[in-house]
Structure formats: C-alpha cells, structure tokens
C-alpha cells in the first residue's frame, strides 16, 4: 500500500531490479498476481493507496481463499518494537493493540500468526513479557515468531529464546508443514557483521530440512532481515543468504517474508518472491532517502497509513500464495 505508492521512484542499489510498471508492480508481478486469482485483478487507487481486488464476488486475498474450504490462511505482523519511546510513535503498545484487534476482526480465524521480529525495542524482560501477553489475545491456533536484532541486544537472543524459543533448534530456527506448504523460520539477527547472517549451522539445517521435499512443494521462508539485497548500506540484506537461495532454486514456488525495513516492498527473482512487511510501530525512510534508517516522524494520519498487517492465503494445488497488505484501520 504505502510502500507501493512510491515504488515507481528509482531505489538505489538493487532494490529495484524489476522494472516498475503500473503502480510499482512490475508487469511480471502483476501477471503472476492475476494468474494466482485466475481472474482479473483490479488495482484500485484511492488517496495514493493501491489496493488489489478481485473483480467479482469472491472477495479479496485470504477471504477469497476462505471461500473454498481447507485453504490455508495466515497473518504476518512485524516490528512492534514494544518499549520504544519517541516522537515517531508515542504509543507503540496502542498501535500493536490495534493491529491485534484488526487480526481478530478479519472475518476468519487465521491458521497461525507469524510475528517476524523486533517484538521488543530493547530486549528487556518487561518488554518480552508485555509483547507475549499482548499476543495471547490473538484469535488464532498458533503464534510463531522469529527474532529481530532488537530482540537479541546484549545476550545473543537468550532472553528471546527463553520465552519464544521452545521447540526450536540451534539459535531459534525451525520448520513446520501445514496445508501442503512447508514453512521455514530463520534467525539472521545474530553474529551480525554489517548485514544479517545465517551461519553454517543454520544453512546445514535448511539443507537437511529441504532435502526430502518434492520440488513442487510450496515453500515459505520467514526471516527478520531481508534475504535479498534491499539496501546493504543500511544492513538491509543477509550476507550468506545466497547459500539458502541456492537450496530454494529447485522449488517451483518460494515465498520469502521478512520484516526489519518497516515498509512494503516486493521483488521477484525467478521462482522466488520476496515480500518485506511493514511495521506496527513507526516508519523508516525509503532506502537512501535519509542519512540513516532513523524512525520517521510523520503526521498522525500518515503514521496510521504507514502501519499495517499482512494476510496470506493459499489453496492446495495452486502455485502462488496470495499476499495482501492492509493498513491499520
């Protein structure tokens, strides 16, 4: 939505490999998108906001998927930064509460909710406890998380794993299957050196984890920091991600969902589509548009429009997942 609004502007350094077409979606992305719905997609532009809707009675995104039983529907929320105090958002807990309310009012019960990191701002025990308690209100079967760098300050993620790491491997990574989709949740916010980092132990895990899967299994990969080079100068990339990307190449449909950059961005590379999610806390500047990725202070109405949640739907047998971003109501 807001991320797409300016997406036709040139973005430095690899963030805009795809030629931007109508409203920042490349022609190819648009066609893939339309292909998924198997019908016409109408891009509605209102007040600078681009919303994709299916022409016809089937509803949008995950709701459309819901019309056929047995479909997968999940939600991604990101970068709640509980504990942040600053003019960019004086009430991050209130914003996250609104995001949770919006998830609970979707009109369907998501199979799970994934929080893709920076649950807290400073990794304190109080902040972890607060965000954990807040997420118990989510009406869903399961809440998953991956850690952000703000969740591993000073202790390499130990406090995070104590609360959110049960049943995970290594430094907190894991995988699971549901509705015919294989999900991999990665940790790339530890051992940072300028960029996100996965490490050999985790890459070995991914290799073994994917080895038994048939190439037509849809794969979804979660990480906090993008696995693609969105803007390395600000650390918006993962230095050893190509080793995982190489393992994902043989699959016909791969969707990588990340947070960290506090803005929407989509990029397709062959069989792999990357979707950066927005935040529920405060916007960050577009790549290179400010001296540093500092929290952006914007008018209240603009702030609300910059924050949001993401719903994702998938029908077994289809090739692509339907990703839909909604601003906070």
């Amino acid at each position: 939505m807001t991320g797409y609004r300016d997406a036709q502007d040139p973005v430095p350094d690899g963030a805009a490999d795809q030629p931007a077409g109508e409203h920042g979606m490349s022609r190819r992305q648009l066609m893939r998108h339309a292909g998924w719905f198997g019908g016409a997609v109408v891009l509605t532009v209102a007040a600078g906001e681009v919303t994709s809707r299916i022409a016809g009675p089937r509803g949008t995104g995950a709701e459309a998927v819901a019309a056929t039983g047995g479909a997968l529907r999940f939600v991604q929320v990101s970068d709640s930064h509980i504990g942040f105090h600053g003019p960019a958002n004086t009430d991050v807990a209130g914003s996250f509460t609104k995001a949770i309310d919006q998830v609970n009012a979707l009109g369907f019960r998501p199979d799970f909710v994934m929080h893709s990191g920076d649950l807290t701002h400073l990794s304190t025990a109080d902040q972890f406890d607060q965000v954990r308690q807040m997420m118990t209100r989510l009406r869903t079967d399961r809440v998953f998380t991956v850690p952000g760098e703000h969740d591993s300050i000073g202790d390499a993620g130990r406090a995070y794993r104590q609360i959110f790491g049960s049943g995970t491997l290594g430094d907190g990574w894991y995988s699971f299957d549901t509705h015919g989709v294989h999900f991999v949740a990665l940790v790339n916010t530890l051992s940072l050196e300028k960029l996100g980092h996965l490490g050999t132990e985790q890459i070995d895990f991914v290799r073994k984890d994917l080895s038994g899967l048939s190439s037509d299994t849809p794969i979804v990969v979660f990480s906090h920091i993008p696995l693609f080079a969105m803007y390395p100068q600000w650390g918006w990339s993962t230095d050893d991600a190509l080793k995982v990307i190489a393992l994902l190449r043989r699959f016909s449909s791969v969707t990588c969902l990340n947070g960290h950059v506090h803005q929407l961005f989509t990029k397709t590379e062959g069989n792999i589509t990357f979707h950066s999610a927005t935040t529920t806390a405060y916007p960050l500047p577009k790549p290179g548009r400010a001296p540093a990725p500092t929290p952006q202070v914007v008018p209240a109405r603009q702030l609300k429009a910059a924050l949001g949640i993401r719903t994702v739907g998938y029908r077994q047998g289809d090739r692509e997942l339907a990703v839909k971003d909604e601003r906070l109501a």
Binding site: L122, E149, H150, G154, K194, P291, P293, T294, P295
Partner: protein, 86 residues
C-alpha cells in the same frame, strides 16, 4: 592513564578509527536519539556494552595491544575500531 572519548552520532562512531596507547580508558557516549551498542565484532572480543540510550555512556580500559573491531548490534552497518599500541 588518560581517557579518550568516542561519540556516537548520526548512526556513526566518531572517530571511526581510534589509536590509543595501552592502558587507555575509552568512553563511548550516545548522542543519538536512537539506542546503540558498542559490541566487539565476532566472538571473544572484550566490548559488550548494554543498550545505550541517549546520553548513556560505556567505558572500557584497553590493557593489551591490538586492533579491536566493534559495531552496534542494533545497526550493524555502524562499524569502527580501536587500535591499541604499546
């Protein structure tokens, strides 16, 4: 021995390369509105500040010669080093 200051401002450590003799205590001060850390690059390094809020400081006394690379774990593109000489 004398103390030396490093300022954290505009998402950068200043000076980015600091040369000090053994025994020097270096003090980092966060002058940003954002929180930062002073953390040794890789494992085994001596620098492990907590999260430094605005105006917070962190000090470390270097007792062994060498080059000490460090970064902010929250914004790891912020890198710098301290060169400690005899």
């Amino acid at each position: 021995m004398s103390g030396v200051a490093v300022t954290i401002r505009n998402f950068a450590f200043s000076p980015a390369t600091l040369k000090v003799p053994v025994g020097t205590t270096v003090t980092w001060t966060d002058q940003d509105t954002d929180t930062h850390t002073v953390t040794s690059t890789g494992s085994g390094g001596p620098l492990h500040s907590p999260a430094l809020a605005t105006h917070a400081t962190y000090s470390y006394r270097f007792t062994t010669p060498g080059t000490y690379a460090y970064l902010c774990t929250i914004h790891p593109f912020m890198t710098a080093e301290v060169e400690v000489t005899r």
